[in-house]
Amino acid sequence: MPERPRTERLQTERPMIEIKSVTRSYGAFKALDDASLTIKEGEFFSLLGPSGCGKTTLLRMIAGFDNPTSGSISVDGQSMEGIPANRRPTNMVFQSYAIFPHLNVEQNVAYGLKRLKLERAEEKRRVEEALAQVSLTGLGKRLATELSGGQRQRVALARALVMRPKVLLLDEPLSALDKKLREQMQVELRRLQQAVGITFVLVTHDQYEALAMSDRIAVMFGGRIAQIASPKEIYQRPVNRQVADFLGGMNFVKAEIVEENGASLVVDTLGFGRIKTDKPKAFIRNGGAATLGIRPERLRVLWDNATAKFEVAGKVVERHYFGEITHLIVEIPGLEKPLSVTETNDFGADDIPVGTSIRLAYDPEALVAMAD
């Protein structure tokens, strides 16, 4: 948008959406259970979780299509209680796109502007601007039924952006697109958000989508928020096994706590020996046992006589080829479950025969403690 130069840092510390202890019950079932979070102005925030985790319920409550059973939601400092969807400063991109089939692209984009009673030239200018933002210039006269899935998605975006909302809500916007288009749209969405500087709240069940686009992510399970953090932290330092699992492959290793103090833990493991690791923020000690996790790509195959400061020896029991990478399953004496290792193919990991004894290098920093 021309009002704001691109160089300005758009993300501020000012809270745009404040969700305080929001619960949504359907009889005895709690779709959302005591959720609290703050989304900052200009932030690209994702609600990530499996279906039924409450992420869509939360998004629909921000939009005004549903109301909290208890708790409060405010947008830009204003409480949303009792304010219907048509009077909220939010706009939504629906999962089904919800393009009006009886209107053409231009009429779809201008739908919300009609109520603002703008001058015709101004309205036309804003529609053109929105279409340009989503690279649909020149398709204004097309009917919705003549558009491809990706184009419909862009119309839905333009229709919401043209309203210049304070918050743009996106409900699984890319789930209906094929893989290639989806990856392209991820990049474009992120770029668009940076350009317009509007706060984006995205609901998705696709962890790569959330990791690729967001400033911060809230991971949700069973109506509860499990962790809120940056993509890197969520991926590298998940608070519990559930989060770790949902974000991708993770090797779990059982450990005995030797020493616990304010910020760190010292644990003994069978395969990796004694490890000192950062203590997770919400660490709750459960007797003397703890769980450590290490991502498959943080284990590296040691070739020939190469050595590393930290290494673990084992035997390849399975090999799976994935083109640019190979997945090795490696049995380590003492570990109850074999380790899963992801290795790039530049050195020939795809040729390691099953049954070979190998050594793996690791960084003790990559072994993170987490709750069960």
Partner: protein
């Protein structure tokens, strides 16, 4: 060999399909043919071409009365059954509640009930209620038989109506009434018009219920029935029948085109709910 066999099979199938259509439409084709024949008795060979039977029609006051009655009954029945149909179809396609299927079944049932039984039952009820027989009672009867057709057309139009369209409208700032006017109505309008046309056509052609429930006022089918007693009036009846047939065919075609357009329009292309 197999090609030969396939050709034979196809040949037989084509012949069968041809005979099938002839059986269905041959009697109907006789109607317009004899209605332009100069002879008063419908038999071959045809004796000559004339339009006089058609010219006589507007000069028959009883016929004009019957036509007017049919129009009044048809329009009233169409509007009433479509309004009731909209309410029922909306409820059945939009909400989930216990007994939904059972209610749907009961609404559709008059479609397969013997019409004469329905007519007699209605007559008994109306007499018990102390209502006098008139065009109004005919309208009531016709609403009963029209609603299943109206429901069929309307549920097809409403089904798959993506609810998120109404939400999108609200999200873009439109009020509930504005949403109805700018989104819901334009989307379902073809189905509603189609339902009106179907109901009107059914009412226009309906004989049994009208025959039982009308007082002294005749509708077109009752008028035709009355005319059949006089052999000399037969060509006039054929001409009238031809016109009715043409009108029904035209209305049903328009209704079907609209129904398909409505179904296509409400079809949701990428709709998955999380």
């Amino acid at each position: 060999m197999t090609a030969m066999r396939r050709f034979l099979a196809n040949g037989w199938l084509s012949a069968y399909a041809f005979l099938y259509v002839v059986f269905l439409y041959l009697p109907v084709i006789f109607l317009p043919i004899f209605s332009v024949n100069t002879a008063a008795t419908p038999k071959f060979p045809l004796s000559g071409f004339t339009l006089k039977w058609y010219e006589d029609l507007p000069r028959t006051p009883a016929l004009l009365d019957a036509a007017w009655n049919s129009l009044v009954v048809g329009v009233s029945a169409a509007i009433l059954s479509t309004v009731l149909g909209i309410l029922a179809a909306r409820s059945i396609t939009r909400y989930r509640y216990p007994g939904r299927r059972a209610i749907n079944g009961l609404i559709m049932a008059p479609l397969v009930l013997p019409e004469i039984i329905v007519a007699i039952s209605l007559l008994l009820v109306i007499l018990q209620l102390g209502l006098s027989l008139s065009l109004f009672t005919v309208v009531l009867g016709h609403v009963l038989v029209c609603i299943p057709y109206s429901m069929t057309v309307l549920t097809a139009g409403f089904e798959g109506f993506d609810r998120s369209l109404e939400e999108a409208s609200a999200d873009l700032g439109e009020s509930a009434f504005g949403t109805f006017r700018r989104v819901t109505l334009p989307m379902v309008a073809p189905a509603i018009i189609s339902s009106l046309l179907v109901c009107f056509t059914i009412s226009l052609d309906e004989f049994l219920i009208a025959f039982f429930l009308t007082g002294t006022e005749a509708t077109l089918p009752i008028y035709i029935w009355g005319q059949l007693r006089f052999a000399s009036k037969l060509p006039g009846v054929l001409a009238l029948g031809t016109l009715l047939l043409a009108a029904s065919f035209l209305l049903m075609t328009i209704a079907e085109i609209l129904r398909r357009r409505a179904a296509k329009r409400t079809q949701n292309e990428g709709g998955l709910y999380a």
